[in-house]
Amino acid sequence: MKTFVSKNKDNLITYGIVVVAYAVMEILIKAGLISSLMQGLLVPLCAYVILAVSLNLTVGILGELSLGHAGFMCVGAFTSAFFSKITMNVITVTWIRFTLAIVIGFIAAGLIGFLIGMPVLRLKGDYLAIVTLAFGEIIKNVINVLYIGKDSKGLHFSMKDAVALNLEPEGDVIINGAQGITGTPKNSTFTIGVILILITLFIVLNLIKSRDGRAIMSIRDNVIAAESVGINITKYKLLAFALSAALAGVAGVLYSHNLSSLMATPKNFGYNMSIMILVFVVLGGIGNIRGSIISAVILTLLPELLRGLSNYRMLIYAIVLIAMMLFNWAPKAQAFRDRLLDKLMFWKKKKVTVTEKEGGASDER
């Protein structure tokens, strides 16, 4: 019972951090103290936080290494942008259209996650990582050769080029292969982003706390033991994986409705991005949801705050990343941190170290 209560409190702190951060940013924006660069970064930040939290569900809670997360984001981004584009003149109320777009992104990415999960989750560890990596690349490459156009006769599809669509002269090419979708309405706002983060947190944190969540974690800790007590391994694995994919789809919706030009390049939806999301999760602590949020924010801001260093920022960024990883997770660094903390809090030495350990370790594997 005690752990239940403390867990609840822990979750409340996580929600609290998001809400407080939102309130502070809103006040600063109203006061005109925020630079344009920061204002432009707010929506992407929300998207990356959702991605990190959702991947943590697969990596931390289910205990499987997935390198295809950007692929699911890509699915969410393109399906929802496509939807928004074709219904732009039909559904004129923005919030209804955008809500539908979010739902569509969620369902589409979840469905793809489910379909991919079925064959793939038979594998474990490195093998799973490699296969998800490949699936992520497939999704990206398929979108790069996909042409969809719309005219009075309806939708036209092609995998060859825009000419092969045979559109009427006034027809509109919506997905133009490698050129992607242009002119997606800019509906994402910081407020919507934060609401989506809170919903994501609500889903993920409650799942972890629930009976299903305990079943999923038992699979992570010992498959044979879990199976022996009658847990349906396939079902719970698929549940976690598909949910994680669906939430990545939501992040994709947020991403695509923030930029008017959406292209599936190796940069934004390739394996680089998947690994970037994994870095958020690993730096924040595998299984530690709050850590994912913080590390996603820091690592997204860092390269932009380093803009003043021009091209050296790539180098500095990498060095800072290495330093942060070591500081957070190297055993020696952890011991050093504890010693430092002890010195700072010498008057409450014992108590602090004990409680810190408890709070920090409870979420980890």
Binding site: V20, M25, L28, S35, D161, S260, S261, R307
Partner: protein, 385 residues
């Protein structure tokens, strides 16, 4: 006590975050024009961004040395976008914080579309040196220096048709590249109106751009006389080499992306003999203006300029002409400046490196004559009609 520590930690971290968010307010430099530039200076497309950066830099240094625009000096700041639409918008916002009045860029089409959607809200005057897709200039505050992709495609098809260069044409293009597939699409459409047939159209992607034997074989099997290459010169040099070693005897025809092919390292330039290209700029052109530009550029940056550098160089001089025409002052707000320059653009006629007597319509597209060049004796030579 634990609560206190946590609260303190929270407060401290919040203070830190707040400190990092604020700062650097937009200080309006009332006595200089602040020109910003955006393009990829890191990653695979760095040569394009760097060329734009240097080309604009050269022009701005020249103008400043000559006393500025109407006596007003120019400040210049170039931001990297890593060829990523999202980063490009970040770069734009960073430049806004710096106090930019006028934007030269972004360098690439996709980034340009993303940034144009932001700049229209500020009514910022934006001129893209090399963002060539039509979507770039959808807003009225954006103008182009380069041709739009459709114009290049139509121009190339019309040139081949009208001059009876060939009757059977094969195309090899990069389907993962906006520039290449944009030109190909319009080329194929226009070809229907021209007296030649496209006998094969084969694509490659960024992941498979080293071996072109299949595409060339297809072209030969279908009896093509000419291969149209709406691609960049690096891949084109491979295609020419592989075609020669396989013994095919095609004519080759390209667009402005082929400019620079004679400078590819370890490329046997004799293979490029007879290659025709429609390009606004060639570094080896004999006119005085180009030669001075190339010499200055080489002296300053140790590199031969390509068309991107020339486009950016022109973009700065176009801005200068527009400011002089409209009498705009740096004390004007970004939006006022935008309105003034937009009005002036349609009345301008600028002689630049990439075209003589360039004019603009209100939609932002440039009117200039494409130059058809042929590579002769290891040099670009203008084909006289």
């Amino acid at each position: 006590m634990k609560k206190f520590t946590k609260l303190t930690a929270l407060a401290l971290s919040l203070a830190m975050v707040v400190a990092s968010f604020t700062g650097c307010g937009a200080a309006a430099g009332a006595n200089t024009f602040k020109i910003g530039g955006i393009g990829p200076t890191t990653g695979g497309a760095a040569i394009y961004g760097t060329a734009v950066k240097n080309g604009a830099d050269l022009a701005i240094k020249e103008i400043n040395a000559a006393g500025g625009i109407n006596g007003v000096q120019i400040e210049y700041n170039f931001q990297d976008d890593e060829l990523d639409n999202e980063k490009s918008v970040n770069a734009y916002n960073a430049l806004k914080d710096w106090g930019m009045n006028i934007l030269v860029g972004p360098t690439t089409s996709g980034c340009c579309v993303a940034v144009a959607a932001e700049s229209v809200n500020d009514n910022m005057f934006q001129i893209t040196p090399s963002g060539s897709s039509v979507d770039c200039i959808a807003n009225d505050n954006v103008f182009q220096v380069c041709f739009t992709d459709p114009n290049q495609g139509i121009g190339a098809a019309a040139y081949i048709g009208q001059n009876n260069v060939a009757s059977k044409v094969a195309v090899i293009y990069d389907s993962s590249d906006v520039y290449s597939s944009g030109i190909y699409t319009k080329f194929a459409q226009e070809a229907a109106n021209q007296p030649f047939d496209i006998v094969s159209a084969e694509a490659f992607t960024a992941d498979s751009k080293t071996d072109f034997s299949v595409q060339l074989q297809k072209a030969a099997d279908n009896g093509a006389e000419l291969v149209f290459l709406p691609i960049y010169y690096t891949e084109a040099s491979l295609i020419l080499t592989q075609a020669a070693s396989a013994g095919y005897n095609f004519k080759f025809f390209g667009c402005d992306g082929l400019d620079g092919i004679l400078g590819v390292e370890n490329f046997d330039t004799s293979l490029a003999e007879g290659v025709m290209l429609l390009t606004p700029f060639a570094a080896d052109a004999k006119d005085e203006k180009t030669q001075k530009f190339v010499a200055d550029y080489q002296a300053a940056y140790g590199d031969t300029p390509n068309q991107f550098a020339a486009d950016a160089y022109d973009a700065v001089y176009i801005i200068k002409a527009a400011i002089e025409k409209s009498g705009a002052k740096p004390s004007m707000s970004v939006s006022e400046l935008g309105d003034a320059l937009k009005g002036a653009m349609t009345q301008l006629s600028v002689d630049g490196l990439t075209g003589a007597a360039m004019t603009w319509t209100a939609d932002g597209a440039v009117n200039k004559a494409p130059k058809a060049m042929e590579i002769k004796d290891g040099n670009y030579a203008l084909i006289q009609d």
